[in-house]
Amino acid sequence: MRIGIDLGSRKVKFALVHEGLVVRLESFDTLSFYKRFGRMEGDDLIFDLPATGLFTAAELAACSIVATGYGRNTLNLKGVKVISEIRAHVTGAFFQTGFRDFTLLDMGGQDTKVALVRNGRLQDFVMNDKCAASSGRYLENMAAILEVELSELSSHWEDPVRLDATCGIFGESELIGQILRGHSVARLCAGVNQTLVKRVIPMLKRFPSDMIVLTGGVALDTALVRLLEVEGFSVTVPDSPQHNGAIGCAVID
């Protein structure tokens, strides 16, 4: 039995796996999780996992723990095996899809990772750098500007309004300008989703595959999937895209 933990910038994700089956998936907001259950002991970061109530004492006693994520390089996790994010995500994608040849597109709170997998082996990867305007956090900001829920934002893909700002913050004022022009919320939502596509296409084109496996919280954006398909990509979203990294941690050899 193993617990996988993915310490993301927006959410901390957990997966409990037993004999090759995912028993439980959980998540917490990152900040509140660190505040409530984390503390530093010297250079080590300690999580009070029993206090989270996510796992029983028997489970915690029986489990080994493997973690990945943004926090892992600045903090040592005591008693936890730590693996790289790219390994965690690729392993999670193998487990969830069974594919051996694909391009992984993982879009999280801040990171966008694109990895080329051939014959079940990681060949190469790229990550966004310096700019996080193709991330989940960007979508959250834009939803807030449009005063819609993320679920609403993620449902529109047709006839997108053109948005060109490079910066995710300037993008907000650009969006406000388009609102004033009277475009419908549906078309504005589609425009926001289209900006994500434009930003990831250069990375995807670097590693062409017949199949894109889309993971991370942004994979829940169904309009994004539709727009990628319009661009000619075949996209698979596994059952638990947001927990893909945590699952990868829980199943890695």
């Binding site: 390089n73 790289s84 994010e85 790219i86 390994r87 082996r121 990681l122 060949q123 790229v126 750098d129």
Partner: protein
């Protein structure tokens, strides 16, 4: 004061023949202990944020150090140098332009060299004599490089340091040679590295300060520092003109790649780190590098001086993992 600065490697032979103390302004900027402040000061004066940190750092270093004369390489390196020259001239600083011809045309390069010689009032005989003096030091730097990749006795960072410092010989070939001699004596009693992964570093020297130790913590050692090695004039060519035509850095990317490919093979490299500076035209050349080299490549981008950030560490670790699986 007879210090003369320069913005990237130039024929050092000329400055030494003229009795000047050479100062590679990049080294002055990055090793002065306050590189970040120099950049901030340059930005406060009006340098845009989206301009290379080295240009701003050099500007800050020149102003702060009181250097009154510099050779500015206007072709073959960053074209921002031209505007840098113009701004520095407002401070009354003498700027001597030097251009490496993109096509390596020998006549054009000879003209540039002779123009610079005329400015400093030296003749070919004097320049060739200082060339011989420098070759004695450069030969020892080549030995440090060989000890790095062939014997495994020198760290990637030490290799970087001695080669990068060869651009101005730390201001004095004599004391630099002593430093090299003492280093060489010390390496003879070392135990060779047992690397898991052998890396090449290509591109301009890093603005990041802890890349090499971070890699070595992961049993990955850089055994080829491409540009730094070029600064040490690695081919031992006696003729000055040919020496600076063989020097790859200021010419086109394909010429550089020919040297890189040979060394990757010879040094049994497992993977390549291509470092690019934010806002540099060489970021575009990454496309060519990726197309032309068959080894796995990690492109790292650096902007301001300082340690590796958490995101870059993640990328490096993943890259090393990928290489580890392939070996």
């Amino acid at each position: 004061m007879n210090r003369t600065g320069f913005t990237t490697t130039i024929p050092l032979e000329i400055l030494l023949a003229a009795g000047r103390i050479p100062v590679d302004l990049n080294n002055l900027f990055i090793s002065g202990g306050k590189s970040l402040e120099l950049i901030e000061a340059a930005e406060a004066e009006g340098f845009p944020r989206n301009i290379c940190g080295w240009i701003k750092g050099i500007y800050g270093a020149v102003i702060e150090s009181g250097i009154r004369e510099l050779v500015a390489v206007t072709e073959g390196d960053c074209s921002n140098t031209r505007a840098l020259m113009e701004v520095l001239s407002l401070h009354g600083i003498t700027t001597v332009p030097f251009a490496y011809p993109h096509d390596r045309n020998p006549n054009a390069l000879r003209d540039e060299i002779e123009k610079m010689m005329a400015h400093f009032g030296v003749d070919w005989a004097a320049v060739n004599r200082s060339g011989e003096r420098l070759e004695a030091v450069r030969k020892k730097i080549r030995e440090i490089d060989r000890l790095t990749w062939e014997e495994g006795l020198v760290s990637g960072e030490e290799n970087h340091y001695f080669q990068v410092a060869s651009s101005d010989m730390n201001g004095s070939p004599e004391s630099f040679e002593e430093e090299i001699d003492s280093f060489l004596r010390e390496t003879s009693s070392r135990t060779p590295y047992r690397d898991r992964i052998r890396l090449a570093y290509i591109g301009v020297p890093p603005i990041i300060d802890n890349l090499y130790p971070f890699l070595e913590e992961h049993e990955a050692r850089i055994v080829f520092n491409e540009t730094q090695r070029q600064f040490s004039m690695p081919y031992g060519i006696p003729d000055l003109l040919e020496r600076y035509r063989a020097y790859t850095y200021p010419y086109d990317i394909f010429f550089r790649l020919a040297d890189i490919k040979l060394e990757l093979e010879k040094r049994r490299i497992d993977g390549v780190i291509h470092y690019v500076q934010s806002f540099c035209f060489r970021q575009i050349e990454d496309m060519v590098v990726r197309q032309q080299l068959s080894l796995p490549i990690l492109t790292l981008e650096g902007d301001k001086p300082g340690p590796l950030d958490a995101r870059t560490k993640i990328r490096i670790e993943s890259f090393l993992e990928l290489l580890g699986e392939r070996i």
